[in-house]
């Protein structure tokens, strides 16, 4: 595996609980207590109704592959080809991610296929949520 420590982001106050959750291998989402909607990326206020009465909830980790592309060459040290993806979470919001655990060949991929979260421990303090296809036997 390539060493990708240099990719570790630095959280900001409004995103810190998300990154702390990822470290525990929990996908945390902000949810508005006023309008009930989840949003992502995490903000200080609900982007739908502008309430600042938010709570953090653990997402199911299930979702669908909304769309993807497959860069062929290395990018930022990530060896190519790899699958860059947008996953639509069961709770509604979409997240940019990588799809792993499947050959990066378009033949293996279909928009809306079911995926689930897995965590990639990038450094001692940062884990990245990534997704893999839900196995058929599961």
């Amino acid at each position: 595996m390539a060493d990708l420590k240099h990719l570790a982001p630095t959280p900001t106050p409004e995103t810190k609980p998300f990154w702390e959750g990822a470290k525990r291998h929990e996908l945390m989402l902000p949810r508005c207590k006023s309008c009930g909607k989840h949003h992502f990326y995490p903000r200080s206020d609900c982007p739908f109704c502008w309430s600042n009465d938010l709570e953090w909830v653990k997402a199911s980790g299930k979702g669908k592959l909304h769309t993807f592309s497959i860069p062929q060459r290395p990018i930022m040290g990530i060896p190519g080809p790899f699958i860059a993806a947008i996953v639509e979470l069961e709770e509604g919001p979409r997240i940019a991610t990588n799809l792993i655990g499947v050959d990066p060949d378009p033949k293996n991929l279909r928009c809306d296929m079911e995926v689930e979260v897995v965590f990639d421990d990038l450094t001692d303090t940062v884990s990245l949520p990534k997704f893999r296809p839900v196995s058929k036997s599961a």
Partner: protein, 388 residues
């Protein structure tokens, strides 16, 4: 308050120009490219440096830098930076400023050392930025990855094919072959595109724009002032701008540019023209999927039918929908923020200055740009008369 729609035909583009050279220019800084384009555009208009009292530009750390380099001290300055279509936004902002009496002669400039990277500002994202936190660690860094998301979803929902994407590149190249300033002028077939290496599936290398150096500039003033200038004025009948998101992970609909669905109706409503009145269209074409979405988002065909619209070389020379007649970002020039070149070509077509690639009787032109990753959008309708 002025109803902006009442300003239709009250302003004109009176000067357009590229920098002295386009292409690979390791001997010229980005600021020199701004300067050359500005100097050429002011000459095209038959104006003098001292006439300029408004300066609009994008892509520098400080928007005063371009004016400073050119030795200008304008009374109005606008540095709106929304990516490649910034210059189309600048045209609308210039109209508003002139209408308010804040300036009279607006210079809009672009200069970018996109290939040679000379004197370019550092635009890299810090590690606590939204971009680094939510996209960079996944290798979502270059536009081809993000634009690929849109092509993939469009293919999934509407059956658009890679061959249809390739048709865009082929039609655009056919126009480039008629433009002496175009960077790529060799013959191109759908098969050539399909056999070119995959850069990021679903895109082949030839689905992606060029990376070149260059500059461009245009001059906007009132229709009144435009009357006595060197070239026949090109009147601005309608403008509109909009946005859907900034970063790709927030794109509301991966098969449509939401910004275009906001900018397009404003421009058409203001202009009083219909889709059928458009004689020639310039659509931002960073990737082959981009004009397909523009055709749909601006109402030239139904959502999902853009691929079929393009197929059969309908947008190529001789087709019934002349599009990107300069050869586009795909084959003529793409400095990074391509939008200025859309304006230049739309103006030249309406003036009838396009030589071999001139669209016969082109009286009304549409120019439509995108900025970021289908993020911001601006649409403009130009004509050879103040009323359609």
């Amino acid at each position: 308050m002025t109803d902006f729609r009442n300003l239709s035909g009250k302003f004109a583009i009176v000067g357009v120009a590229e920098s002295d050279e386009l292409g690979t220019l390791p001997h010229k800084s980005a600021l020199q490219l701004h300067m050359e384009a500005a100097r050429n555009a002011i000459a095209d208009a038959g104006l003098k440096k001292s006439d300029i009292d408004g300066v609009f530009s994008a892509g520098r750390q400080m928007s005063t830098e371009t004016a400073e380099y050119m030795g200008l001290r304008p009374r109005y300055i606008d540095g709106t930076m929304v990516g490649g279509c910034s210059f189309l936004h600048h045209v609308q902002h210039a109209m508003a400023a002139i209408n308010a009496g804040l300036c009279e002669v607006a210079l809009i400039t672009h200069g970018e050392s996109g290939r040679s990277r000379l004197a370019m500002p550092n635009m890299s994202a810090p590690k606590d930025s939204l971009l680094w936190q939510f996209e960079v660690p996944y290798g979502i860094v270059f536009p081809f990855t993000a634009y690929g998301f849109i092509a993939t979803r469009h293919m999934h929902e509407y059956g658009t094919t890679q061959e249809q994407l390739a048709e865009v590149a082929v039609a655009t190249r056919a126009w480039a072959r008629l433009n002496p300033k175009a960077n790529q002028r060799g013959p191109l077939t759908v098969d050539d595109v399909m056999k070119s290496p995959v850069l990021a599936w679903p895109f082949h290398v030839l689905d992606c724009c060029l990376v070149t150096d260059g500059g461009g500039a245009c001059i906007v003033t009132s229709a009144e002032r435009a009357k006595d200038l060197k070239k026949k004025p090109v009147y601005i009948l309608g403008t509109g701008e909009g946005m859907g998101h900034c970063w790709i992970n927030q794109m509301p609909d991966f098969t449509a540019a939401t910004g275009a669905t906001i900018s397009g109706p404003q421009a058409f409503a203001m202009s009083g023209v219909t889709r059928k009145d458009i004689d020639v269209a310039m659509f931002y074409d960073a990737f082959t999927i981009t004009p397909i979405l523009a055709l749909e988002d601006l109402g030239f065909c139904k959502k999902g039918e853009g691929g079929a619209f393009i197929a059969g070389q309908r947008t190529a020379p001789g087709g019934d929908f002349p599009m990107n007649t300069n050869g586009g970002g795909l084959s003529y020039a793409h400095t990074g923020m391509y939008g200025m070149f859309i304006i230049l070509e739309a103006v030249r077509q309406v003036r009838g200055e396009c030589g071999e690639r001139q669209v016969k009787d082109a009286e009304v032109a549409l120019a439509h740009g995108l900025g970021g990753i289908f993020s911001a959008a601006a649409t403009m309708i130009l004509a050879n008369a103040p009323q359609a």
